[in-house]
Amino acid sequence: MTGAALHLNLLKDSEHRSSSPVRLRVMMPLLAMLATIGALVWWGTNLTQLVIVKTQADSLDADIKSKSREHAEAIRQQGEVRETQLGLDQLEFYRTGVRHIAEPLAKLAEVMPIKVQLTGLSVSRLPPQNLARPKGVKGPPLWGPPTNVETQKFVVAGRTTKAPPLSALMESLDGPGFEGLAGTAGDPATGRKGTVVSFRQDSAPAKDGSRLLTFEVEYIMPERRFAK
């Protein structure tokens, strides 16, 4: 049994009204209007921001265009400055790397023993500088050597009558004032800075018929550094 069989309702579904105080008939247009106004405000805000940004972009673009020549000149000058500074730096490196051997050589005459006759003073040649860039790296040649440290040898050759004068000479060269020639390191076996490469009897006798001794002593000169 159901009451629906006895329900002869003459009210159509479309005529039902809501008992809620919030009327959709009123609220829907209001909400739609508010949503439309909100969308318009949002759209307007975006449009205004877009116009402002576009104006700023145009202004910046014009400014950039107007300053492009000066900018290029400034960039070029900056490049020049960099290049010049680089050159100056390299010059400074070379200045730092200059060996001061004149004073030690002048002082060598003062300490030279009587019984020693110098036959040669030589400094080994430096290896040729490789200023090419590493493989695969393009660009102009390098300004300086690939390594900033160079070493050279100072060789003292001469004649003497016996060993003590040579020992006196080597002792003098180990002393102060000869660091520019003899360096600071030495042969740990002898405790001397120099290394006796050869010490033998000369093949040709002297005028008085005596036999002289020739020697060759090698020193490792201080490192030459290309750095500030």
């Binding site: 006895l6 002869l8 309702n9 039902h16």
Partner: protein, 403 residues
């Protein structure tokens, strides 16, 4: 009451659309409705009853007479502009209201589909149901400004070509349909190829639909004719439920007596007792025959000090004859054994009716309390309960109570 998955959007004042969400469920059943009878000729106002269901129990939250709406029900399309707004007292402010209306222009009864279609073709030119027509005194109380016949000549003078050429279709069950200026609703009978049909002029239906204002409780969820609501008022009666919804009921109204037959909860018979007035006619007969004053009529009918048989016999004789015919019809056509007959709507003298029926027909006519089957809320006091039958029936029908 709408469920959570359906939204009702009122686009204009007269246009509402239902928006059902795709995951929506079934339409929810109403459980709190105020039934109210409009233009009932009751001197105290409109009978109103608030019925609701709580924890499976049907309860009456309020019952009483409320002031009638201002203004009169429209009698033509021009009157519809004068739309009053009617608000019910606080205790009757349920979510929905079921309105049972008494209208002289209403049509209600059982009819064949062809007859209903003919009524739909006739539309507004159809004569008003004679049993619904109020007396001259009643018209004034009903708020009818002029006789229906005064408004109809202009409609009858319509040229023939204005008549609809297309034959209307019988309305689907339970769906109101507008046709030719009238609104129709039908329900099938139990077994016969008959329909229970109700119709009201379109302008009155629109007027009633807008009577309760939007946005305030209650709003109209159902508009029924008073006779239709009367028929649904038995649904909570214990005798009706005990019989499985198969019973004969007699409704006595102020100006008419109706027989209603039910089979398994579906309508099986609806008939007005011909040639018999309502209980007002019975009271007039008592006053005239026994020579008593109005104030003593109830005492004569309910007490045994005075035998009212001489006054009641001529009145009840045709009623009992029609009751016998109704019982025979229900027994022969629907195999309903009507040993018990419900008697409803009679304010006094129900005992006399039972006694007469038992003596002459050997059947038991049981006077029933309209509020039987309901639990009353605290503080609800009901004077003249029989006056609330249409209001109860309207609410129960609108809630589509299952019994």
């Amino acid at each position: 009451m709408l469920n959570a998955f359906e939204v009702k959007v009122q686009l204009t004042k007269d246009r509402t659309i239902d928006v059902s969400l795709p995951f929506g469920g079934k339409k929810g059943r109403k459980t709190d409705v105020t039934g109210v009878e409009l233009y009932s000729l009751e001197p105290d106002g409109c009978p109103a009853v608030r019925v609701y269901q709580k924890r499976g129990e049907w309860r009456v939250g309020a019952a009483g007479f409320v002031p009638s709406p201002a203004g009169a029900m429209p009698e033509c399309w021009d009157d519809i502009a004068k739309q009053p707004s009617w608000e019910l007292p606080r205790q009757f402010q349920a979510p929905g209201a079921a309105i049972a209306v008494n209208s002289p222009d209403a049509l209600f009864g059982q009819a064949s589909p062809d007859a209903i279609v003919q009524e739909m073709i006739a539309g507004l030119r159809a004569p008003a149901a004679s049993h619904s027509a109020p007396s001259d005194a009643g018209k004034k109380r009903l708020g009818i400004k002029r006789a229906p016949s005064a408004a109809k000549p202009t409609e009858e003078k319509k040229p023939a070509q204005s008549q609809p050429s297309k034959r209307p279709e019988l309305p689907p069950e339970g769906v109101p349909v507008s046709e030719n200026g009238r609104r129709f609703a039908v329900r099938p009978f139990a077994e016969d190829d008959l329909r229970l049909a109700a119709s009201l002029p379109e302008y009155q239906a629109l007027w009633l639909g807008r009577l309760l204002p939007e946005g305030k409780r209650p709003t109209a969820v159902s508009i029924q004719l008073a006779e239709s609501a009367l028929m649904a008022s038995v649904m909570m009666q214990p005798a009706y439920r005990d019989s499985g919804g198969s019973i004969l009921a007699v409704f006595v109204r102020r100006d008419a007596v109706f027989f209603a037959g039910y089979k398994l909860g579906r309508p099986a018979l609806w008939r007005r007792c011909p040639g018999v007035g309502g209980y007002e006619a019975m009271r007039a007969a008592v006053k005239k025959t026994l020579g008593v004053e109005e104030e003593l009529v109830d005492s004569v009918l309910d007490d045994s000090l005075v035998d009212p048989r001489p006054a009641l016999e001529p009145f009840l004789h045709p009623v009992l004859e029609q009751m016998e015919l109704a019982r025979a019809y229900l027994e022969s056509r629907h195999s309903i054994n009507s040993e018990r007959v419900l008697l409803l709507g009679l304010p006094s003298g129900a005992g006399q009716w039972s006694r007469f029926a038992e003596e002459s027909l050997k059947i038991k006519v049981e006077p029933a309390d309209p509020f039987a089957g309901f639990a009353l809320d605290k503080g609800v006091e009901i004077a003249r309960p029989q006056a609330f039958l249409p209001a109860i029936g309207a609410a129960l029908a609108a809630m589509e109570v299952e019994s």
